[in-house]
């Protein structure tokens, strides 16, 4: 579904992504794991058109979307759940969902109902300004907002960041549920343990390059990955 070929991206002279290639098969969950500064977020931001790549290709459903505007890319069925949630704090919860469906011309009231079923908490807070929600609720809203565009591919940038373990578990349950409904998911995580558990495929990024690739389960058991990302949990948390 999504194919990335030899992608290179630089920001103001710093090469953040140094030629990575991977594929996201239809209806799968693929995860990119790696430390801060490995180039994970940059990759997602490039796919969605917020950053222009230096070279390389992004192919989506056999269509070259490299360097296209975000508007056009999103219209093709890709959406992003950004790092740090970035819901619109000055809009109500309901409006945030409506803005997720901004490009849609059809009736989306059913989908709002569906998102509210998925996250009953959001329904309770429908008329509240999104800025007043708790971190976990904001993450639910960010996911709900992304779902409103009826995407074929959702890219999630560290949905577990700064959330309580129980909330994270809930979010990951939802990710699996969305995937079962046929939505393809590209997931970025520092929480490698959780991410690899839900993922069909994983790629380990290190300073702009893919260092390791494999099935989720394989990577979980990989000695290198264990040492670097899974072994010392406390250390990893402290880094966050």
């Amino acid at each position: 579904m999504l194919k990335i070929e030899n992608l290179c991206v630089s920001y103001g002279g710093i090469e953040a992504v140094k030629g990575i290639s991977f594929e996201v098969p239809d209806k799968s969950i693929v995860t990119l794991i790696g430390a801060n500064g490995a180039g994970k977020s940059t990759t997602l931001r490039t796919v969605v058109g917020l950053v222009k790549p230096q070279s390389g290709k992004i192919i989506y459903n056999d269509k070259d979307i490299t360097g296209k505007s975000s508007e056009e890319i999103v219209r093709n069925g890709i959406t992003l759940v950004p790092e740090g949630r970035r819901i619109f704090p000055n809009l109500t919860v309901y409006e945030n969902l409506k803005i997720g469906a901004y490009m849609r011309k059809d009736d989306y009231s059913e989908d709002i109902k569906w998102v509210y079923d998925l996250f009953p908490r959001l329904k309770e807070r429908s008329w509240q300004f999104a800025g007043t929600l708790s971190g976990g609720e904001q993450q639910m809203l960010a996911v709900g907002r992304a779902l409103m565009s009826k995407p074929e591919l959702i890219m999630m940038d560290e949905p577990s960041l700064g959330l309580a373990p129980l909330v994270v578990k809930g979010i990951f349950e939802i990710i699996k549920e969305i995937n079962k409904l046929g939505v393809t998911i590209l997931l970025i995580e520092q929480n490698a343990n959780l991410a690899l558990r839900v993922a069909d495929q994983g790629h380990v990024l290190e300073t702009g390059r893919i260092k390791l690739s494999g099935k989720g389960q394989e990577l979980l058991e990989n000695a290198e990955v264990k040492a670097a990302y899974l072994g010392n949990k406390k250390h990893e948390l402290a880094q966050q």
Binding site: V48, G49, L50, S69, S70, E71, V74, R75, T79, L80, P82, G84, R86, F88, P89, N90, L91, E95, K98, I99, G100, Y102, M103, F129, G131, T132, L133, G135, Q138, R145, S149
Partner: protein
């Protein structure tokens, strides 16, 4: 000090305040969405005065058509300025855009001087609002009665657009996070252009009524109102539309009352606005009802 005199000045103050409010909203809307102080706004106001002059005194358009003509043309000018001078700098540092705005301001002033000469022209009384009416013992200029009504109508429409329509929702979203707004599929160029159009259109409505009160059109007529309305927007809390209206009223009322009841201070009328600006910035830099910051990071 008689009651009549007070009422007369009160009406006058409300009228001036409403005019300030109409212009200040343009500043605040642009700031809200681009974090840019559009220093050309006062000169857009000036150009609107010339559009009115030409529409009415030269081309003799009927009054209703002249009003539409001026508002549409001014909105177009605002959008053109955004397209030509600000959009190419969308990803540049904020200072560059600010300098560009100052450049546009000088450009418009000099263009007007060149095209229309520096000699002031008389603003036509095409709405018949310059004459005064007597209400009991109080005599008021007709325009002073009309201005607050126009303000209320314009603000009601504006708040409706911002709070209830899809465009308004997009404007609010873009003002908070234009990158993510883009990811939602919002055409931010369109939204920003609309913001400039609306702000400039409101300035045009302001100038039509302003001209009835101060019937002189000259290339530098926009400088002082521009600065004062910027101050009004800051007093209320820049970025906040209700704040701009509040700031306009405060500035207008105090100014008029100061001149009316402290005659020796008349010469300081304009200086007063700046003193108020400094005071507000010292005491409450976010303005009286400045943006709430409830964002969670």
């Amino acid at each position: 000090m008689t009651l009549e005199l007070f009422l007369q000045n009160l009406a006058n103050g409300i009228a001036v305040g409403s005019l300030y409010a109409l212009i200040a909203v343009g500043y605040t809307m642009v700031y809200g969405i681009l974090r840019l102080i559009n220093f050309a706004h006062g000169d857009i106001f000036m150009m609107a005065a010339y559009f009115t002059f030409f529409g009415v005194a030269v081309f003799h358009l009927p009054w209703y058509f002249a009003c539409i003509f001026v508002v549409v043309l001014t909105a177009g000018l605002g959008m053109l300025i955004e397209r030509a001078a600000y959009r190419p700098l969308r990803d540049a540092p904020k200072d560059s855009v600010l300098v560009s705005a100052i450049g546009v301001s000088f450009l418009l002033e000099n263009l007007a001087t060149y095209l229309f000469s520096g000699k002031p022209k008389a603003f036509p009384d095409f709405l018949g609002l310059m004459s005064t009416v007597s209400l009991g013992t109080v005599s008021i200029q007709k325009v002073a009665l009309v201005v607050p009504v126009v303000l209320i109508v314009c603000m009601s429409i504006l708040l409706f657009v911002i709070n209830k329509t899809k465009l308004g929702m997009a404007m609010r979203a873009v003002s908070k996070d234009y990158e993510i707004a883009r990811v939602m599929g919002i055409n931010i160029n369109l939204v920003i252009a609309a913001t400039f159009g609306i702000g400039s259109g409101l300035a045009a409505v302001g100038v039509i009524l302003w001209g009835m009160k101060y019937p002189q059109v000259s290339p530098l007529m926009g400088v002082m109102p521009g600065l004062k309305c910027f101050i009004a927007a800051v007093i209320g809390g820049i970025g906040n539309i209700k704040g701009a209206v509040l700031g306009g009223f405060i500035l207008g009322l105090i100014e008029v009352m100061l001149v009316a009841f402290f005659q020796p201070l008349t010469g300081y009328r304009d200086a007063f606005a700046f003193i108020l600006l400094i005071l507000i910035l010292l005491v409450k830099p976010t303005g009286l009802i400045g943006e709430k910051t409830t964002e969670k990071v």
